[in-house]
């Protein structure tokens, strides 16, 4: 069981590497924020797995809850920031048909 959990944790970490590449090469800033958001969610999951490996899930699960909530707040704040700064460039409501 320990080996399976260890393997799952390592697989989870290895699959974060393409997402980290997306953080580095992402053409726009929001691409990077999305990738950070995905990595944050997976870190919350990884914390539970680490807790199970250390035989101390009851402590690590609190960290995971806090991490997930803070991750959501972080992506929310970032998207708010982008929403607020850009309309100064004179694009009207985003509901308007683009290119017409």
């Amino acid at each position: 069981m320990e080996i399976a959990l260890m393997g799952a944790g390592i697989c989870l970490f290895l699959m974060m590497i393409p997402i980290m590449c997306r953080i580095i090469i992402g053409p726009t800033a929001i691409d990077r924020i999305v990738a950070v958001n995905v990595i944050g969610t997976k870190t919350a999951v990884l914390l539970i797995i680490i807790g199970a490996l250390f035989d101390n899930v009851s402590m690590f699960v609190d960290f995971a809850i806090a991490y997930a909530a803070l991750n959501f707040l972080g992506s929310l704040a970032a998207s708010r920031y982008f929403n607020r700064t850009r309309p100064a460039y004179g694009k009207g409501s985003s509901m308007e048909v683009k290119g017409s």
């Binding site: 399976a4 929001i30 999305v34 797995i49 048909v97």
Partner: protein, 149 residues
Amino acid sequence: MDDILNGLSIILIFSGLIFFMGASVGLMRFPDFYTRMHAAGKGDTLSTILITAGMAAQVLSHFDLVNLFVAIKIIAIAVLIMLTSPTSTHLLMKAGYDDGIDPVTSSGKGGIIDLGGPFIKRIQSDDGESKVKKKSSSKKKSATRKNSV
């Protein structure tokens, strides 16, 4: 009983890893920002739910009161992420759309296609003239756009 729960947890965790692999490869390969959001939003949610469910089964295999609370907390994480992940996807996508990132579309550059709606007739009869006019004009637009395809 313990063996059943352990086996179930391993199956759940590894199916979650497979779906997460789909999400990460999709995040790498999809052509533009909006389609990448599809991979991120969906793959993230299901893989998190599956892995946390697997961990909850794993914790419950040594059953006592403390472990029961821990399992409920782990399920609470899954519910939290199931509620918040689509919201953050939606908000980031809206931010990108307001930011002016052009979507790669198959029908011309950045056009919106009007589907109308299942209740459009009822809404028209409720709201009177103005909405009807607005709707017909936008329908014309979408018709021309579809012709240009």
